[in-house]
């Protein structure tokens, strides 16, 4: 087992990883930018290293600083959290060369799944259902037009190196393809440094269902059920739940098996998530695979009893996973609300100092946060203040519990998304479990 793990992240996920390490008796190293000097993750870790000024490019994304920090502290492993360098294959390679174990999959797997067009092609070869579309990136507009004609409109033009909604265009009319293609290409080039575009069938009202995977280095790959993540604004998730109200146990078994097949096709190790789009007919299609622990992992932990971060650390250290598919059971229901420092209507970020902070407790409640009274919410990083997570014996109980928790959460000094979450939970369609990725539009 590792002696010392460096956590290459900040905020709530850094606290999460430090927590797992403390329970396992592993020493922890926190890295921080000058803006995060007084952060909780720094306070809770055994050792700390300042790695740069506030800007992420010069600190949390600055590979030399992180490698140096691992060197001077003698860390034998590094956990990248999510975001930042978590899916940077080059970073994983440099760590490997410096003999610091990257807690995550191999650089090859990261690279393969990071290239969205390549991932699609790899999955198709492995027999995983993918949306009809181009084989990899298209050469030019006329190829895009040809494919669109073949698979039928509407289509989505997507950046091969992209994510987060950038470099994407929906085309509903054939006459728009040319213009949209050039626009998507330019945006992709600017955002990701590559103008490669691929074409995919566009589903009108899909649900975003993802499957959590965990794989060890001894050939065991297991899925831990599904999460429903359709409540998104501009491709940013806001509220997630497990299990999905739209997925029957039969469909869950099928999707889980497909996700495992996807992971095995790339010799996957560690935690990973396969994202699918589910259409009205109950057909599902591979969208992408995230080769990291995800923000919303707590809902899966709540319904399965698993500790995914500890599992990540254990499998990276070469231990066998210790459980098999038949040992995974889904019990009750869990919901997570991302409490962001944002205006609940305009979504404009609301940085500042939190003067008053109280989180609820009681049965079935979990709060993952690095916030506290008098802490500063900086403009340099994402706006997540806290993840409010509940578990109930039924979905109805989980909803009631979350409503109670939202009422009993106090965050003063910055604006938060709490009012929006309360409206979501009051919404009849949400309560009935019938919603899709366009759900949040009704609150615009």
């Amino acid at each position: 087992m590792f002696r010392k793990v460096l956590i290459a992240n900040r905020g709530e996920i850094a606290v999460r990883v430090i927590s797992a390490c403390q329970e396992m008796g592993i020493r922890t190293v926190a890295v921080y930018s000058e803006a995060d000097r007084d952060s909780l993750h720094v306070r809770f870790a055994d050792e700390e290293v300042c790695i740069g000024p506030a800007r992420s490019n010069e600190s949390y994304l600055h590979i030399p600083a992180l490698i140096s920090a691992a060197e001077i502290t003698g860390a034998d492993a590094l956990h990248p959290g999510y975001g930042f360098l978590a899916e940077n294959a080059h970073f994983a390679e440099v760590l490997e060369a410096c003999r610091v174990r990257f807690i995550g999959p191999s650089p090859v797997a990261i690279r393969m799944m990071g290239d969205k067009a390549l991932a699609r092609a790899t999955m198709k070869r492995a027999g995983v259902p993918v949306l009809p579309g181009s084989e990899g990136a298209v050469e030019d507009v006329s190829e895009a037009e040809k494919i669109a004609r073949k698979i039928g409109l509407p289509v989505m033009l997507k950046a091969a190196s992209g994510g987060g909604g950038k470099g994407m265009r929906v085309v509903t009319e054939a006459s728009e393809i040319s213009k949209s293609f050039l626009a998507a290409q330019a945006e992709a080039e600017a955002a990701f440094g590559s103008g490669a575009i691929y074409v995919e069938k566009f589903l009108e009202n899909p649900r975003h269902i993802e499957i959590q995977l965990m794989a060890d280095q001894h050939g065991t790959t297991v899925h831990l059920g599904d999460r429903e993540c359709s409540i998104q604004r501009r491709h940013q998730k806001l509220l997630e739940e497990a299990p999905s109200p739209a997925v029957s146990s039969k469909l869950r078994k099928k999707m889980g098996e497909v996700a495992v097949k996807a992971a095995e096709a790339v010799d996957y190790e560690g935690a990973g998530t396969v994202e699918f789009l589910l259409d009205d007919n109950g057909d599902f299609y591979f969208m992408e695979m995230n080769t990291r622990i995800q923000v919303e992992h707590p809902v899966t932990e709540m319904v399965t009893g698993a500790d995914l971060v500890k599992d990540q650390i254990r499998v990276a250290a070469g231990e066998p996973l210790g459980y098999r598919q038949k040992d995974v059971a889904i019990r009750g229901a869990s919901i997570e609300c991302r409490i962001n420092a944002e205006d609940p209507r305009s979504f404009l970020p609301s940085p500042g100092t939190i003067h008053s902070f109280h989180v609820p407790g009681g049965p079935g409640v979990r709060v993952d946060t690095a916030a506290h009274a008098e802490c500063v919410v900086h403009p340099y990083y994402d706006s997540l203040i806290a993840k409010l997570v509940v578990h109930g014996r039924s979905r109805a109980e989980a909803i009631a519990r979350m409503q109670r928790c939202l009422r009993l959460t106090v965050v003063e000094g910055v604006k938060t998304t709490i009012p929006l979450h309360r409206r979501i939970l009051d919404d009849p369609d949400f309560r009935a479990g019938s919603y899709n990725t366009r759900f949040l539009e009704r609150f615009d």
Binding site: E34, E48, V49, C50, P53, P64, A65, I67
Partner: protein, 152 residues
């Protein structure tokens, strides 16, 4: 190395008046440093530095974080990067800068080693070295105080 061997080692070091000692074995690294520099209360400010490394392998010249003068006309040089601080170019060589030395602008004050690259940290000012805050071989983080120089 077991506990009694470690104890013996510590006794030996004390006996021989060794101030600094490091040994690395398969599963163990021991580093012992005796004494330290007294830090007097010089007010310090560290301003964000964005100067990139000019790498000429294996030695690179690095601009330190822009120092800001204190009331006493003391300029504090802080670490522009994470790494290991060395006072001299190689073990056994003379230190680049001692207490009381006059330094010129652009003169190398120390080396910070990171990822096997030796980065020379240069003085931005002309003056006299008043204090050295870090011991040779100590790890430093971004923004850590290294030297204070009385600007002339």
């Amino acid at each position: 190395m077991n506990l009694s061997e470690l104890k013996e080692l510590l006794e030996l070091i004390t006996e021989q008046n060794i101030t600094e000692f490091e040994i690395e074995e398969k599963d163990l690294r021991v580093r012992i440093k005796k004494g330290g520099e007294a830090v007097n209360g010089v007010a310090t400010y560290s301003v964000e530095s964005t100067s990139p490394q000019v790498a000429a392998a294996p030695v690179a010249a690095v601009h330190p974080s822009a120092p800001e003068p204190t009331d006493e006309g003391l300029v504090v040089v802080t670490a522009p990067m994470v790494g290991t601080f060395y006072r001299q170019s190689a073990p056994g060589a003379d230190p680049f800068a001692r207490n009381g030395d006059r330094v010129q602008k652009g003169q190398t004050l120390c080396i910070i080693e990171a990822m096997k690259l030796m980065n020379e940290i240069e003085s931005e000012v002309v003056g006299e070295v008043v204090e050295i805050f870090v011991d040779d071989g100590q790890p430093v983080g971004f923004g850590d105080r290294l030297f204070s120089i009385r600007e002339s």
